[in-house]
């Protein structure tokens, strides 16, 4: 390769490398700001600030959803399979909200450890299947109960 071209190539490669490294360090330092939500484990370990608007995310614990019959109040627990957080919400939940489904809630963590949500978003996983397949899978799961993985939400 021609000497000038070689020099240009090396210069560009070095600039790209330095910029990538710098950006990588910035993103690493800002990791907590880039994360969209706190996991129940982070909330349990006190990483999440109290009485500040934050987001909490996790999978809705099966059987934990309690709706008030007179109002739109609803409480449920979310989990990352290590810790649980109780969430209170008043309003209409998204269509995809259901037990065993991932959600992200925005709101404030109160001093008593309950999270009061002002907005609940449903998180969707990357798996798609026709209803018949899903029914068949559920049948199969009843026979062999498998442990859900944290990557499911």
């Amino acid at each position: 390769m021609h000497a000038i071209r070689k020099k240009r190539l090396i210069t560009i490669a070095v600039i790209l490398f330095i910029l990538s490294a710098a950006l990588g360090l910035v993103m690493y330092a800002l990791q907590q700001n880039i994360n969209l939500f706190y996991s129940p484990t982070q909330i349990a370990s006190g990483e999440a600030p109290v009485n500040t608007t934050i987001r909490a995310g996790g999978m809705v614990v099966v059987g934990s959803v309690h709706r008030n019959s007179d109002t739109l109040d609803v409480t449920f627990d979310v989990t990352d399979f290590k810790h649980n957080v109780r969430i209170q919400y008043r309003g209409i939940l998204p269509d995809l909200f259901r037990e065993g489904q991932g959600i992200v809630a925005q709101g404030k963590l109160m001093n008593n450890g309950i999270f009061r949500a002002s907005q609940v978003l449903a998180k969707h996983d990357e798996k798609y299947m026709p209803p018949e397949v899903s029914d068949a899978l559920k049948e199969a799961q009843k026979k062999t109960t498998t442990k859900p993985s944290t990557s499911d939400f």
Binding site: R5, L36, L96, E126, M129, P130, E132, V133
Partner: protein, 248 residues
Amino acid sequence: MSWIWFHKLGSPKWFYQWSSKWATAVFLIGLLATLIGVGWGLGFAPTDYQQGETYRIIYLHVPAAVLAESCYFSLGVAGFVYLVWQMKMAPIFIKSMAPIGAAMAAIALLSGAIWGKPTWGTWWVWDARLTSVLVLFILYMGIIALQNTLEDVTLANQAAAIVSVLGLINLPIIKYSVNWWNTLHQPASFSLTKKPTMPMDMWLPLLIAVIGFYCLVAGLAMWRMQSEILLRERRTQWVKEKVMNDGV
């Protein structure tokens, strides 16, 4: 290895003649595959067990998102080629491809928002994936703006090439944003290297749509490059002769 193809590719005249033979065919194949893939996906693929019919927007969203990233990757490579070898064709490619990539990024963002409202419950959230794709769209806009506002052609070429190369850093961020950070956006549904996350009768139309989008973009890019070549090479003998003979 022979480098003749590489030098040929650098010749606007050679590329013009070569792409004239292929552009229409590639575009028509792309159109056909897109119609089959998207039509199959929207009309005949099975519904999803959770989202019902809403999920069908992936047949538009995923191909557009894949192409938005692929187009940018090609811009980065072209920018690199221009900065190192000063190849004439590279800025022509960047100028022709940038608006197509920008359109793909816009389709991905809009279709994602339309899907997000019924599925997540919100049009937009500032999570790492959505934000990094918005940055990709803005990078495209920057490249288009640089190419069109700088009067000095060499300066415009260089500026666009530099932005194209530096923007490459954004691509791994987009791709791995859903793995590195907590995001609302789910991990990738479509990959050629991993086991599909959906059954074959959902996955196959998606694959055909992605291939179709690739060919569509390739055909469009070749046409745009041909116009750009004629414009930039208007003072050369072969373009003058062509215009005299064909009256383009």
